[in-house]
Symmetry: C2
Subunit: 297 residues, 2 copies
């Protein structure tokens, strides 16, 4: 999400700085594992989840210092999921973001453990980072939502559904169910956890933000599927139809390209509608939705 | 730890019942993943960590209903660690407790995800189970300790140290460092989390219980190493010298059998000393220490 100019330049550096702060140094024992955790988490990426945290904070006038560890915690969960998803037993990928995947740069055992330890670190930091400045009850609610979002009825469950779907003929409901679990839950958590920092927020506004997150999460996946077919292979860094070649069900393969694009557009409109009660401070959230359906990589 | 008669018969059934309660049913989507989680967690085992929770609760006169979800949460972490440790990229074991390991009964990808989801479930349940009856601050402290105990400076770090130690010549300090991380941290958490339910406990008694747990955790590992050499292969279910054959450093291989036995005995005495300020309600903790250095399997 670099150079899109819809969020503050400082956001990427503040998330990297926060992740660096919470990750044990490479010199700390056991050094090999800590190197692998740092490699996995600090290797770049779109950082869409942290950006959603900060954008929600901007919409609600929350001091962004309060959101650093929340954003970082969610990105650690995302990082760990990529490390495990890339393993030979799962997607068996050698490259991620133009560099070797964690198990290729280190080894499989270290990659499994680095993912496991990143998950533990996510929960650890949320328990006590003072800067979040919320009541203990709210902090517990954040941990509860995050644990649920990454567990068997969230992200891990979604990856299981995804693996089981390879070569199967899914209908659109099954496909959306997979995405809602695999990526949707953590994207929603990014918005909800930030929103929980505003204790004056009414339940209607909270639900609207959650619905916004649900819509853009699905739109993001549809755009992924569209780009898999139509994206510029040079920009994408992979050949067209890569997912199709792997027999992975995609939106265009199930409903056709025209309807897939229409569905992404409808979700974008629905996301914007959810924000109708918010003022111009929510423009970053609106721009994220636009970016998601227009992006070329 | 069955049939040793040093803890209440009901403890094993109450932990199984609690784990069953918190695990999603096999009929819940995604069913295959939930089956794997249940297979991994409900497949028996010594349940030494839950028993330590209940024994600590008994020593401190805590209603055991308050400890069910804590004990279960710790055992889920232990279960997930076994699933990941058994993977081909780690210890590559086909059997565990006389049945197929999770990745053999299901598949590697499902085993990785089942472990990941069990970790998330552990934290999830601690955030809100009403029966624990502690202040939110204490609940957060429990999650913090558990996350630390299973992360890179606890259990996951210990497994990384263990894997790196194969074929290496360790000294006794390195070996103890590995055990303190790999199993010690979670065993200490079992005692500490239960003790946190007694909000009247003074810091000296708390430290003594922690020290007790540290001693028995190490003694447990030394006894493991001794049994690897001297245990009855029929009772143990594996041949003598299995760890030695794998080039794993063990206490007897580093300090000799006599000194290994002496060290286990010394730790047992130190564990009992730590409990000197506790009355006869702590006898179960004392008997656990005796069991640990006398056990034959």
């Amino acid at each position: 999400m670099t150079n899109q100019n819809f969020y503050e330049e400082t956001w990427l550096s503040r998330i990297d700085k926060t992740m660096d702060h919470w990750l044990p140094k490479s010199s700390v024992h056991p050094t090999h594992l800590h190197e692998a955790m740092r490699y996995a988490a600090l290797g770049g990426g779109k950082r869409i989840r942290p950006i959603l945290c900060y954008a929600t904070g901007t919409a609600l006038d929350i001091n962004l210092d309060r959101l650093d560890s929340i954003a970082s915690s969610i990105e650690f969960i995302h990082s760990y999921s990529l490390v495990h998803d890339d393993l030979p037993a799962m997607d068996d990928d050698d490259l991620r973001r133009g560099r070797l995947t964690c198990h290729k740069a280190f080894d499989e055992a270290t990659a499994i453990l680095a993912g496991d330890a990143l998950q533990a670190l996510s929960f650890y930091m949320l328990t006590h980072d003072k800067k979040i400045q919320v009541e203990p009850e709210t902090r517990l609610r954040m941990i509860e939502i995050l644990a649920n979002a990454c567990g068997s009825r969230g992200m891990a469950g979604g990856q299981a559904i995804d693996l089981a779907a390879v070569g199967k003929s899914l209908n659109i409901a099954d496909l959306e169910d997979m995405h809602i679990h695999k990526t949707g839950a953590l994207i929603r958590a990014s918005v909800i956890l930030a929103a929980l920092c505003d204790q004056s927020l009414d339940s209607k506004a909270f639900k609207n933000l959650d619905h916004y997150a649900k819509c853009i999460g699905l739109a993001f996946q549809i755009r992924d599927d569209i780009l898999d077919e139509e994206g510029d292979p040079n920009t994408m860094g992979k050949a067209n139809g890569a997912d199709r070649a792997l027999n992975k069900p995609t939106y265009p393969s199930i409903v056709g390209m025209t309807e897939a694009k229409q569905r992404a557009h409808d979700l974008h409109i629905e996301a914007l509608d959810s924000l109708s009660g918010f003022d111009q401070k929510a423009d970053v959230l609106r721009k994220i939705s636009t970016y998601i359906i227009d992006r070329v990589a």
